[in-house]
């Protein structure tokens, strides 16, 4: 794609070529940062590098990781979703409240359907009326948050149903859960869909240049609508993951989840301008945040430094993205 910028001495210096490749591939930088963080914390503390702790970090990532997966799809189309956390919270309240009257499978399915429906509504507003995704999802965030509070009657709903808590079930003795496995499977599936199928290539094309994509015959509206609908379903799954993590549906929970998911996507190297990045980077971005939080706690460093470090990484990631774009344009 960016072969035009190949420096003249590149063939003679393989190190340089690797570097150029690394700068072109958005998930390499984040992967390097993740490995670096893991190495540092493994050296600095003796409680960090244990199988149990590493599987714990993965488990702590299941909710934001699932939300960030939907967020990645939307950001790849040059959109953004501020409503994803509120949709997932709505899902937890619907499932939790309906399951109180029995019928957990139906409760879960209705929660999935409701989350998907909100995703569809977001997508319809973005594609049909051509409203900016930022505005649509900002409005939706407020609407869904208020509606969820009304529906919850300002109560929280403790969840006891085995099905709703199933994702918290452990596998083996090291603390891996079905929720963690599901997270990895979903990332694998979307890596495949985005890189190996026509739909995936269309998502990138729409994000890169919607008009150009339309002119090549891609049904841009349908592609974008599909992205929002799939994201909605993913938020429903995030709700299920959340109930596994904390068996309590609470309308006050996950208020920062939208920004946390954007953070994971951006640290993972996906460009906010669309068309560049991918789900592997997002998984790495999610894990970087988790590793920092766990590692700095193990090292006994004030919790506010965790936020500080995350913020610095976000700016660094966007700066790197801009830099690479500038290189590519030359």
């Amino acid at each position: 794609m960016t072969q035009t910028v190949k420096p003249p001495e590149a063939p003679a210096r393989p190190g340089m070529r690797t570097l150029a490749w690394a700068l072109r591939t958005p998930s390499v930088g984040p992967l390097f940062a993740l490995i670096l963080a893991v190495v540092i914390f493994s050296v600095a503390t003796d409680t960090f590098l244990t199988t149990e702790n590493l599987s714990l970090i993965l488990e702590q990532a299941v909710v934001i990781g699932t939300l960030a997966l939907g967020q990645t799809l939307i950001i790849l189309t040059a959109g953004i979703d501020l409503s994803n956390g509120s949709i997932a919270v709505m899902g937890t309240i619907i499932a939790g409240k309906l399951a109180m009257d029995g019928g957990a499978p139906a409760a879960l399915l209705i929660a999935f359907a409701a989350c998907t429906a909100v995703g569809l509504l977001n997508g319809a507003l973005v594609t049909s009326i051509r409203l900016p995704p930022f505005i649509v999802t900002l409005g939706m965030l407020t609407v869904i948050t208020a509606a969820t509070r009304l529906y919850s009657e300002s109560r929280s709903y403790p969840v006891t149903s085995g099905l709703l808590l199933w994702l918290d079930t452990g596998i083996g003795s090291q603390g891996f859960t079905y929720g963690s496995v599901l997270l990895l499977l979903m990332y694998g599936a979307f890596w495949y869909a985005l890189t190996q199928t026509a739909w995936g290539r269309h998502v990138y094309a729409v994000g890169d240049d919607r008009e150009a994509a339309r002119l090549t015959g891609i049904k841009t509206r349908r592609v974008m609508l599909s992205v929002y609908v799939i994201a909605g379903l993913l938020y429903g799954i995030a709700a299920w993951q959340a109930l596994g993590r904390i068996p309590n549906a609470d309308a006050n929970a996950y208020q920062n989840a939208n920004l946390d998911s954007i953070t994971a996507v951006v640290i993972g190297g996906t460009s906010l301008f669309g068309g560049r990045g991918g789900v592997v980077g997002t998984l790495i971005g999610t894990l970087i945040v988790g590793v920092l939080r766990s590692g700095l706690t193990q090292a006994g460093i004030d919790a506010l430094y965790q936020d500080l470090a995350t913020g610095v990484l976000v700016i660094a990631a966007v700066a790197l993205d801009q830099l690479t774009r500038r290189r590519a344009r030359v």
């Binding site: 540092i40 149990e52 939080r293 706690t297 090292a299 004030d302």
Partner: protein, 333 residues
């Protein structure tokens, strides 16, 4: 293009060097805390509320005095159950002996508390009880029902038999502490939730701006309001501002908390009386309990009230109270 690419090459060794330095310094502060030291975890609702800052400072000081090391973590906002669970999990992984937690939601952290106790970690609830209370080993907190009762009884007595029209400035419906204070106030006043004395209610989430807004609206709807229940002092200060702006006087405002700003508001007459809580005591008793557990394996149990003291310069008969001079000496934050 090439000019841009050349300076990039030395960056990798540079980053590696930086990493090594960082790892070294991290290791240094890790070992500086001593491996034999007893580790105590504290998880509060948020980092920013002065009440939890006081709780954290007191716990840190108490731990230091006992030769223990305190690791303080918190949720990001009131209701951040995931943040609190994650904090507890990381503390368990770190190998703490005991965890002091102020649960955001009384049922939100039960799973991880069970996990901690199964690993032999002493878990103590500070400030807010879990539901059921037996989920933790022991609870050190204000008896909020009693604090509300004192507020209600004082407001009632201060009005001296005038027919009351009460504005209820509630916190967050459904939160255990908030409901206890509300119910306690009604009990102390001798009325029920549907009594005609209650003119109206507003939800403030314990925030000053929402307290002011709520009071403004209630005064518009019910100009005859002459008594105010408030969930805490920020809400009370908001109410006082609304009352002043409306040009009203002779409205009796009661509150709960005992922050220095709140006691100051009582002293200046904006608020009639407040009921002081003692976060310092909660923190110290919690730390002491973990240290004792570390030494002798002895676990505390049950509910320990850390007291609730009525503070006012307008004392009434039959209700023990302290004046604001005492209040300013003992206030927090």
């Amino acid at each position: 293009m090439t000019q841009h690419a050349i300076p990039r090459i030395p960056r990798i060794p540079l980053i590696c060097a930086a990493a090594a330095v960082l790892a070294g310094s991290l290791a240094a502060c890790g070992s500086g805390s001593g491996s034999g030291q007893l580790k105590i975890g504290l998880v509060t609702k948020t980092e920013t509320n002065p009440y939890f800052v006081k709780l954290r400072e007191s716990a840190t000081a108490a731990a230091k005095a006992k030769g223990a090391q305190l690791e303080a973590l918190a949720g990001k906002f009131d209701g951040d159950n995931e943040g609190q669970v994650t904090a507890m999990e990381n503390l368990i992984a770190k190998g703490v002996k005991g965890i002091l937690i102020t649960p955001s939601n009384s049922t939100g952290v039960l799973g991880v508390i069970k996990k901690a106790r199964e690993k032999g970690i002493l878990v103590i609830a500070l400030d807010t009880a879990t539901s059921p209370a037996s989920a933790v080993d022991a609870t050190y907190a204000t008896d909020n029902l009693d604090a509300g009762r004192q507020q209600g009884a004082w407001v009632k007595a201060h009005m001296g038999g005038k027919p009351a029209r009460i504005a209820m400035l509630d916190g967050t419906p459904g939160a255990t502490v908030d409901d206890n204070r509300h119910d306690g106030f009604l009990k102390g006043f001798g009325i029920a939730d549907n009594s005609p004395e209650i003119a109206g209610r507003a939800i403030t989430n314990g925030a000053q701006d929402k307290g002011q807004q709520g009071m403004e609206n209630l005064l518009q709807a019910h100009p005859d309001v002459n008594a105010v229940y408030t969930i805490n002092e920020p809400a009370a200060r908001g109410a006082a501002a609304a009352i002043k702006a409306a040009g009203k006087s002779g409205i009796t405002v009661g509150s709960i908390d005992g922050s220095c700003a709140g006691v100051q508001a009582v002293k200046s007459g904006q608020v009639g009386a407040t009921v002081m809580q003692f976060p310092k005591k909660m923190a110290e008793q919690g730390v002491d309990a973990v240290v004792a557990y570390g030494k002798s394996k002895k676990k505390p149990s049950g509910f320990h009230s850390t007291g609730a003291q009525l503070i006012t310069d307008k004392p009434v008969k039959g209700l023990p109270s302290k004046d604001t001079a005492w209040g300013l000496k003992n206030c927090w934050g």
